[in-house]
Symmetry: C2
């Protein structure tokens, strides 16, 4: 095997360099998540970083490697989110000018946070590829040093520092599960962890909408997928790095793919049980454990909760979707006669059954029903799906036709 | 001053008794919340307890004080939430039978969690007063020991243990801010903290819908208020305890009242900044700091994040309400002509202005508009309130009439 571009020593040097300027986050066992997943689950809380993601580690390690002239000229980066905040925050702290290019579609809160750290934010490009081209052009024109979000040995070494902490805190870990976008995090983690504990298994988690690293590892053809909306925007990367692919091929045991609904489910579960806000990419890692329980049964697994930056409206939406999926929020359509008192009767039956009515609407325009009929649409909150069935049955028993 | 019914020694004994069976939660400084509040804010994360609230401390200290016969017969408690879970969890661990009475309106998730710990849950009573009567009656009939949620010296001593931890971790604290319902928590905290550090100031936070302890302290007439819905259900208590009122009168510096909107604002702020889920009662404590900034300016304040149990649908709703209040979600009503192409034109203008349309509805039934007109109602997501104004102006400039 040829020597890899990053070594344990690089990662240990990075740890010494960034020490004190990033948060030494805890790795905690979760009793309830372990019971649910059927293995022993430890969570590494990188959402506790000041900018709420592990990206600070790599960004800071890179910034600290610049010479005086490079520092003075400044840096450029392209990122829709966490890398931007990591670069902007530490560049600001170190008084290094930072220019951050973000695609025009970047969520509002991420733009605002990055600007608040003092960076010059340029919204340009319809997607990450276009924004990246802009950032490279600006860097060349203005003599700025470009900080790649993942395909850089200093960045990879920085991200790897979190694995040193995990194995220091929980040396008995047998597997690590890491979210994978461009591959910077899993590369650093794999180098550090396998050097310290050669028998440890390293797994990555990707959303099935962006399976690029999995396809590289499995030797599948890499036709570039169309862009797709995912809740795990932090790992929505079409093409992983060159360095990171080389490292992953050498050291990563497998990459698991998870669906959007599984990611949403994992996100709300961790929110409700662990009382902690995580972003989609982090949820993908826990979702991957649930997706293949036989593989991890009884093992000691460290899951990297990579970050906690999620738009509040998206979070609210994900919670409601999850409650709907669980049957705690259900939509009923009833064919009713269009006359006074009908809604009162239905509402009373639902109330007696212990259902809470959230929304009511009527549809009188459907073909297939009489002009003297209407469809009543109710959104109802129930205790659980069994309770939802009870509410349906109560309405049916009273003679209402559920369509 | 007469001797108080609980002493520092009682609290130290409680700490020794419960040690290892409850989580030694961290007290962490928050840089961002400090900047917002204008004082130095430390948070005590009691939402990290296994049942996600401080109530375990008092419940466990009480359970450990029972003799063999009392343990065998079992305990009864009345609670709509956290006390129930604290009692049920530790009684289950210690193999003590527990009967918990909850009002029929108790949120589903709290009933489920309590049952999952093995307790016998009885849903009876329209409110806490009625449920309490049921629990006392059952305790008498069945020979069970009743565990009061706050007006008990063992419970108060247990709650006080968290103040020992706060002052051990952050001895420089000058004030503590504690949510107040029945007063068990603030009583224990005040006794422990003032015994260790006599100069420390103890403040309580109540929702203005349930200001009973504030009225007691301020010597105001205590007409019992009507029941009201509050997001801070953990501190929705009409009448504080006898012991707790005596202790609060002796040791608490002041009780501050906060409104529902302020509590919701604080809750979403801590969710978004600290990435941690807190319940309404805990949010009330941070809201109280924001309500009277002059009083706390520059001081070192420890805020007790008392718990993290909030119904997920309620959380989702609170987030959306907060975004609406901030102007990030706005509702526009436009008078339009009722003809093809109108919605396309409006939608294009909103899109060009950078607004994201969340919901669309039409109203054609209003009096005061022509039969050939309609009101178009749009719910739109904007970056912030200034951006909302820009979207309005763009529509007005294109000739649309905003009603």
């Amino acid at each position: 095997m040829p020597a890899l571009p990053v070594t344990l020593k690089d990662i240990q040097s990075a740890a010494a360099a960034i020490n004190g300027a990033v948060v030494r986050t805890p790795t905690r066992h979760s009793r309830t998540l372990s019971a649910i997943a059927g293995c022993e689950v430890w969570l590494k809380f990188e959402n506790r970083q000041f900018t709420a993601s592990f990206k600070e580690r790599g960004a800071l390690n890179f910034l600290l490697s610049l010479n005086a002239d490079q520092r003075k000229r400044g840096v450029a980066a392209m990122s829709a989110g966490n890398h931007a905040q990591g670069v902007a925050y530490h560049a600001g702290r170190l008084s290094i000018p930072a220019t951050i290019v973000m695609p025009v579609s970047t969520p509002f809160n991420k733009v605002k946070h990055t600007r608040d750290f003092g960076a010059d934010v340029i919204l340009e490009g319809r997607d990450l590829t276009e924004a990246s081209a802009v950032a490279h052009r600006l860097a060349a024109e203005r003599g700025l040093t470009f900080i790649h979000p993942y395909d850089d040995s200093k960045v990879i070494a920085g991200q790897g520092t979190l694995a040193l902490e995990m194995l220091e805190d929980v040396p008995q870990l047998e597997c690590l599960m890491v979210p994978v976008g461009g591959g910077g995090l899993i590369s650093g983690v794999a180098i550090a962890a396998k050097a310290i504990k050669p028998g440890i298994e390293i797994f990555g988690a990707e959303t099935e909408l962006y399976p690029a690293m999995a396809e590289s590892l499995h030797g599948q053809p890499q036709a570039e997928k169309p862009s797709a909306q995912t809740i795990a925007e932090g790992i929505a990367v079409k093409r992983p790095g060159k360095l990171t692919t080389e490292i992953a091929k050498a050291l990563v045991n497998d990459i698991l793919l998870v669906g959007e609904a599984e990611i949403e489910h994992a996100l709300v579960m961790i929110l409700e049980i662990e009382k902690t806000v995580i972003e989609g990419a982090a949820a993908a890692a826990f979702a991957a454990l649930l997706a293949d329980p036989a593989r991890f049964k009884g093992k000691k697994v460290g899951v990297v909760i990579s970050g906690g930056n999620i738009d509040m409206r998206l979070l609210s939406n994900v919670i409601l979707r999850e409650l709907t999926r669980e049957g705690r929020i259900l939509t009923l359509e009833l064919a009713i006669e269009d006359r006074p008192g009908m809604l009162a009767q239905v509402a009373q039956l639902v109330g007696e059954a212990g259902g809470n009515i959230l929304e009511v609407s009527h549809n009188r325009m459907m073909s297939g029903i009489s002009a003297k009929s209407a469809t009543l649409i109710l959104v109802i909150e129930a205790r659980d799906s069994a309770h939802g069935v009870q509410i349906r049955e109560k309405l049916a028993a009273a003679g209402f036709r559920l369509v």
